[in-house]
Every structure is written in structure tokens, then in C-alpha cells.
């Protein structure tokens, strides 16, 4: 347990290590992690949400949408980084590419399942009220798909934070993983302290996205959809 005491002391000192004055602070590294992760999630959302929502809206491509999710999970992030390093050399581009490859599948799969799963009777009713295809999408299907759609984004965000730290193992510096990958400078107490920060960061990202999801979910769905507010691979039960 002594190690944990030392680890918390390391966190309390914001990552300062005696004899190494030029090391970055933990706050700086945490912000860098968030920056790299946010870019990855933003690109993935920009690709994945329109694709999944569109496939769900036209009720096509269920095989592709669901199996894409499975293939995404099969790719070890460290392996993608290694292969990316071989072809392009390691840098922000390769790291973001790896993040997008990992984050797009759960987003597409869940956006698809969310929109595809909207009660057909509701869509028919909306059409009967004279709504156009776009209105049905924007005012009926999307609001009802919010819980699943967001569950996909949350899963993706957790993968992305995790992979951003793993990128340090591949030699990309600019995240809390730098500390974990550099036991020589930081000693085990620093590694452990950074691991605690990484875990806390992932849980914080997850919790704040859960709050956003709650705010975006239509009131009528909140009670009925409570069981879905727990983030996880929601496609698990279906695929």
C-alpha cells in the first residue's frame, strides 16, 4: 500500500519528480490527452454518425453496420499503431488514424441500431401527419435514437482515451501514457500515479458524456430508457 501513498503524493505534486525539473506537469499531460482524444472522437463522430443514421433511416446494410462493430473491436490499438508506424511513420496523423479506426465502428453500429429500431408505427404516423423524410429523421427518428446513438459515442470515447495513452508505448509523446511508458524517470510511484489519473480521466469523460446524453434525451424516454444510461457495448446483446 506504500506504493499507493507515494502515487498520490506524486499526483499531489502535479507530477514533479525530484531531480527532473524539466518534466511536464500532470495537468499539462491530462489536457494533451484530452486534446488528442477530442480530435479523434470529433472526426469519428463526423464520419460515423451520418453514416449510421443514414443506413438506419433507409433500413439497409444491417450486416455491414453490425459486423463493422465487431471488426473494429478485433483490432488491437498497439498493432494498428505498429503497422501505421511501418507505413507512415509515427506522429499525430497515425495516432489519430488509429483512434478513428477504433472509434468509428461502435458509433456507426449504435447509430444504425438506434435509428433502425425506431417503432415503424411512429414513422408511419409522422408520415401521415405530412412530415417529409428529413422532418421524420430530424424530429422523430433522431430524438428517439439518442440513447443508443450516445451509448456508441461514449463507448468510442472510452476506447479513444485508452488508446491515446497506449500511443505513448509506441513512442508518441503527448499524453498521460508518457509517464506510464517512462518508469526510468518517474519510478513506479509516478507510473502508478499516472495510471490513477488515466482511470479517473476515462471515468470522468464517461460520466460527463452520460450527463450530456441525459440532457439530450427526450423527457418521455428518460424513464423508459433508464437501463440504457449505463454505458457499455450496447450492441453486445444483439450482434
Amino acid at each position: 500500500m506504500h506504493e499507493f501513498v507515494e502515487a498520490f503524493r506524486f499526483i499531489a505534486h502535479n507530477g514533479a519528480v525530484a531531480g527532473h525539473s524539466q518534466l511536464p506537469t500532470l495537468t499539462h499531460l491530462a489536457l494533451e490527452t484530452l486534446k488528442v482524444s477530442a480530435i479523434g472522437v470529433a472526426i469519428s463522430v463526423a464520419i460515423g454518425v451520418p453514416l449510421g443514421v443514414w443506413l438506419g433511416h433507409i433500413h439497409r446494410g444491417s450486416f455491414a453496420a453490425i459486423n463493422l462493430g465487431n471488426i473494429g473491436r478485433a483490432l488491437p490499438s498497439l498493432a494498428i499503431l505498429a503497422i501505421g508506424d511501418a507505413f507512415l511513420g509515427l506522429g499525430l496523423t497515425v495516432v489519430e488514424l488509429a483512434l478513428v479506426i477504433l472509434a468509428v465502428p461502435p458509433i456507426v453500429t449504435n447509430a444504425y441500431l438506434g435509428v433502425d429500431g425506431v417503432d415503424r408505427d411512429l414513422v408511419d404516423a409522422a408520415r401521415g401527419m405530412g412530415m417529409s423524410g428529413w422532418e421524420i429523421l430530424g424530429r422523430v427518428e433522431l430524438p428517439l435514437a439518442v440513447p443508443l446513438l450516445f451509448a456508441g459515442i461514449r463507448t468510442a470515447a472510452v476506447f479513444v482515451v485508452s488508446t491515446t495513452t497506449i500511443a505513448s508505448l509506441a513512442g508518441f509523446s503527448g499524453s498521460l501514457g508518457d509517464v506510464i511508458a517512462n518508469e526510468t524517470s518517474y519510478h513506479f510511484s509516478g507510473v502508478l500515479g499516472a495510471a490513477i489519473c488515466v482511470a479517473a480521466l476515462a471515468l470522468a469523460v464517461e460520466a460527463s458524456l452520460a450527463l450530456v446524453q441525459r440532457a439530450l434525451t427526450p423527457r418521455g424516454l428518460r424513464l423508459a430508457g433508464l437501463h440504457r444510461t449505463i454505458a457499455a457495448p450496447p450492441e453486445a446483446a444483439i450482434s
Binding site: M1, N70, A74, S77, A86, G89, I180, A194, A232, A237
Partner: protein
């Protein structure tokens, strides 16, 4: 350079400076010039490096999923019978699932030590959420009429579980196993940070040695191929075990 094999000699003389140092004086020109993929390097290193890492990787993943399955099955059966188990189990397993792998390995290394146990504990903890949710969803999806029929035939609760509910839940359970094994194969590449085993070891060596492309592609590619192969095998197992569900599953 005088030690380079005769066949490569002429090539070397004409080409630019070699990229990879020819340590043992037996590297091919492909390796020395860091071409994209050198089959001869793979065949040299398969026996001493790649195959042992692959074998360790498979063992790490299979053991983790087997233990995780036993725990999840127990928890899911408990939650199926006594509903109040569900929420706490989901809360704890979700919490574990959210913690990034690199952090969880280090957090376990402090109390458990840098050994295979902390590696397996971390891997098992990632299977729990996936397997628990899928087993429970499978059990819950059994239609009430089927359960009534089983009761009407005079089956006890235990008989109904073993002979009706579990077989009907099998597609969902195998689907969960599929996701779990693929996820664990991916995560096991990080095990090398606390315990010297698995495909993470050659990937780490490759990344550390710099720009040698063949090694990077071989080590990374093996991990991806293993995950895809495991997924494919489980799809076949799923089909073989549940012939009645073939029309619905795919």
C-alpha cells in the same frame, strides 16, 4: 560489409547505405534495405520469436475468457433468479470496463506484482460486462410460453434452466463469447507492460528498434489475424451448436 552473403553483395555495392545494421552478418538485402515485407525474416524468426509469443497470447486470452465466463455465468444466473443482483453487478463491471487497459494493468501490478496473475485479473475483469450482459439478455429473451410449457411438462426449475432456458440462450451467449475473446485478444497486446508474454512483446521490440517495417507489420498483423481467426472460429461454433437458430442469427 564484407560479411554480407554473396548474393546480396552486388546489390549492396550499388545501392545506398543500408538502413538496418547487419548485426549477425546473415541478414538478406531485403532486411538490410528495410523493404516493406521480408518473408525470409519471418521464416527465420517464426520459431524463436513469433510462434512463442503467439502461443502465449492464445493461452492468456483463452484462460481469461474461460475464468470470466465462469464468473459471469454465476453472476448472470444469480441476477436471473434474484433481480436485485443485476444493478450492482452492472455498476461494478461497467466501472471495470471503463478503466483504460494500460492503467488497470499498472493499478493491479502494485498490489499483485508484475506477474501473470495481475495480467489475468485485468483481462478477466474486461470480459465480465460483455459476458454478463449477453448471458442475462439471452436468459431473459426466453418466451414466457416456453417456460409455462416446461412447467406444464413437470420440469423442475433446475431442469427448465438446463434443458430449456440455457439452450435457447445459447446464440446470445456465444455472441457474447465472440465479443469477449476478440476484445481480450486485442487487450492482451498490452500485457507485456507488466508481464513478459504475448504478441505485445514482439510489437514492443519492433517499435523500440525503430523503422524495421517487416517486424512491425508481422507482429502487429499477427495480433489482428489472431483476433479475426478467433472471431471466425466462434461464428462456426455458434452455427454448429445452434442449428435451429441459423435462420435468425445471421
Amino acid at each position: 560489409m564484407a560479411l554480407v552473403p554473396a548474393g546480396a553483395g552486388t546489390l549492396l555495392a550499388a545501392a545506398s547505405e543500408p538502413v538496418i545494421p547487419n548485426y549477425h552478418a546473415q541478414s538478406s538485402s531485403c532486411v538490410v534495405h528495410n523493404h516493406l515485407f521480408c518473408a525470409d525474416w519471418i521464416s527465420h524468426n517464426w520459431g524463436p520469436v513469433l510462434w512463442p509469443a503467439l502461443r502465449q497470447h492464445i493461452v492468456l486470452a483463452v484462460v481469461a475468457v474461460a475464468i470470466g465466463f465462469a464468473i459471469s455465468m454465476t453472476l448472470a444466473l444469480a441476477a436471473h433468479r434474484y433481480g436485485l443482483f443485476e444493478r450492482p453487478t452492472l455498476f461494478v463491471t461497467t466501472f471495470l470496463y471503463t478503466i483504460p487497459s494500460l492503467a488497470l494493468f499498472e493499478l493491479l501490478a502494485a498490489p499483485v506484482g508484475l506477474n501473470v496473475f495481475s495480467a489475468e485479473i485485468a483481462l478477466v475483469s474486461y470480459t465480465l460486462l460483455i459476458l454478463f450482459r449477453n448471458i442475462l439478455a439471452g436468459l431473459r429473451a426466453v418466451p414466457a410460453e416456453v417456460l409455462d410449457a416446461a412447467e406444464g411438462m413437470g420440469m423442475s426449475r433446475r431442469q427448465s434452466l438446463l434443458r430449456v432456458e440455457l439452450p435457447l440462450a445459447l446464440p446470445a451467449i456465444v455472441a457474447g463469447l465472440r465479443i469477449a475473446i476478440v476484445t481480450i485478444i486485442a487487450l492482451a497486446t498490452i500485457v507485456y507492460t507488466i508481464y513478459d508474454a504475448g504478441l505485445g512483446v514482439p510489437i514492443h521490440t519492433a517499435l523500440g528498434e525503430g523503422p524495421f517495417k517487416t517486424e512491425l507489420i508481422a507482429a502487429g498483423g499477427l495480433a489482428i489475424l489472431l483476433a479475426l481467426a478467433a472471431d471466425g472460429l466462434l461464428v462456426l461454433a455458434q452455427r454448429a451448436l445452434t442449428p435451429w437458430a441459423r435462420a435468425r442469427v445471421d
